[in-house]
Assembly symmetry: C2
Homo-oligomer: 339 residues x 2
DNA sequence: CCTGACTGCTGAACCGGTTCAGCATCCCCT
DNA sequence: AGGGGATGCTGAACCGGTTCAGCAGTCAGG
């Protein structure tokens, strides 16, 4: 039980607190000999400076926060989040920052009051936000609170220069997907997207529509909410429609694609023979499904890592930068194979 | 930007810091009138006391830590972790505690040095540990460090009374699974377990063996490491064995069960006709697989929540308690259906 | 009328670090 | 020999809360 403090160390060594502090932090003002003596003693006692005392005097918490604002069920089943989190944590650990995690289910209000609280208590030095919304209230709020932030994975078209973030060009990804379906001979496709309030969904929708137009493809758009059952229901509705049926479907995430597969099976239809499928997120689900589902692989772990690094840079040096993420790569699987 | 401090509040109200502090914390020593005035002003300015100053003077961090010690790939694909995390976070939020998360991949050494650091810096008030090992060094270490902890999901047989934790009776779960396979007419089964260094795996293995013996079943044990490919490889090995083949397999987690299904498909065998399968963890993977896999549902979210509540109680009142978790329920699916 | 308990409040110490201004030394240069 | 600039160190203030001892004022009981 190390009840040791900096004063204790100083006494043992017969020097002042100040010198110990300088020595520990690699600051000038102490001789190399003294520095060594301090570091050695600290190691020997395995003593670490109290994080709260440090936070208080430096006015820096040494932690960044992240709010996962979603249905716990969705969070639990979406491998995407965990992969992203793992990337983020790795980068933060290297920058010697702790990750403070909060999960809220009652939507944006809870998320925002979490930020207010964190800012007021100075509990985190910055936050990472994602899933950019139309008229997103968060950047304004965070600016007002003076809480630095990085906006992760904002659509390229909506990328604002006034704050740090990673951007994704969904138009390119849309083109990749649509081109593939066109190659495979599809002429009428459905796009089952997530909620339109997400800016990235809008960009995807526009991307799909424009690229499809170029090829002379018809597109049916359906808005849903990323849940497994929504994917299922969307497919049922699509296939019951009076118009000519689509021959391929693009899903906004892997869960909906899985729901779609279930629906197809129920309806006695086969994939890809009757309907081909593509998921906008790749995950183990897509690999394991039968048929395995063609999906856009976007490496959420690496992306999370980059976002975290941007945040560290912002906190360290105040550098505001925007980093475009690499385009997704379409992993071809059976769900879009041609007979 | 609230640069307000407790001194500021005190000045505005013309009273002392001490009174403001008492008022805020619901402590006696101030009149109801004064308390109201303080609380109202705090609300109006939306001011919150600095967490680091508070942590320093109370010597309490207001956060608990958790180290996820596993291959990032495994973490990202195991829905189990996320569900548990969601439950834990919910309980902590209610107890007004923050969750500090760290992910390490280089195994136990990193995990232990994280605890040393956290304890030294007094960055967390307690930690949650899980995946109890044989001769687990962590309880001893944490005791030495004076860091309170809760051991989540320790096997009932190994439950020590000296510290708080949740326990799981794997023998009962093993019986549930074995009974089911016996009912379905299997006489020779395989048990593909996780690493034996986990105490719960040992308890499961013993549980399966004993129950099987009672029914006169033969059991083939295989030790692996929870990875998808390990499940796959185990199945290939099992089915190539010269002895009589098993007709049912029990997998230590959902990923291995998925790997097993893949292997079966490759070998041109059918589930459940040629080999039946059961997973010890339920998850979306089991539901979505084809055939859907019979699995033991254990509600990791609820269990995480209970563990977090134990930790809160321990920190609050020092209460050491052991809570047994409900037995798992076998969700019957096609992978063990009879013709 | 005096005592003692209780209420409401305050000044000051304290938590454990960081950081600034200031003070010796010592060395180099002219 | 003396001025100027590093170098190495220290005392004290400060970060923003909590908490303790103490001090008036009030009020009930003997």
């Amino acid at each position: 039980m190390s009840k040791e403090t900096i004063t204790g160390l100083a006494k043992r060594l017969g020097i002042s607190k100040a010198s110990v502090s300088y020595a520990l932090n690699g600051q000038p003002g102490v001789s190399e000999l003294t520095r060594r003596r301090v570091l050695d003693l600290a190691e020997e006692l395995d003593w670490y400076p109290s994080s709260s005392a440090r936070a208080l005097s430096r006015s820096r918490a040494g932690a960044v926060g992240m709010v996962l604002s979603a249905d716990p069920l969705l969070i639990g089943t979406e491998p995407h989040y965990m992969a992203m989190l793992a990337g983020i944590e790795t980068a933060l650990a290297e920058g010697d920052m702790a990750l403070m995690l909060r999960m809220v289910d009652k939507g944006p209000v809870q998320e925002q009051s979490t930020y207010e609280r964190w800012a007021g208590e100075r509990k985190v030095d910055g936050v990472l936000i994602f899933d950019h919304l139309h008229d997103d209230p968060r950047p304004t709020l965070l600016d007002r609170l003076g809480l630095p932030f990085v906006l992760h994975s904002a659509p390229a078209s909506a990328a604002p220069a006034s704050y740090s973030g990673t951007t994704t060009d969904h138009a390119v990804d849309a083109a990749t997907i649509v081109d593939h379906l066109h190659d495979r001979g599809h002429r009428r496709i459905a796009h089952v997207s997530g909620p339109h309030r997400f800016v990235h969904e809008e960009e995807r929708i526009r991307g799909v529509r424009e690229r499809a137009a170029r090829h002379g493809l018809e597109v049916v758009q359906v808005e849903t909410d990323y849940a497994l059952t929504s994917g299922h229901d969307a497919v049922v509705t699509l296939l019951r429609a009076p118009e000519a049926p689509v021959t391929a479907m693009v899903f906004g995430n892997d869960l909906m694609a899985m729901g779609g597969l279930l629906a197809l099976r129920e309806l006695g239809l086969r994939c890809p023979d009757d309907v081909a499928m593509v998921s906008w997120d790749d995950s183990l689900h897509c690999r394991l499904a039968s048929p395995a589902v063609t999906a856009l692989s976007r490496n959420p772990g690496m992306q999370g890592r980059v976002a975290a690094e941007l945040l560290l840079a912002l906190l360290d040096t105040g550098t505001i930068q925007t980093k475009p993420m690499p385009h997704g790569e379409l992993v071809l699987r059976s769900s879009t194979a041609t007979g």
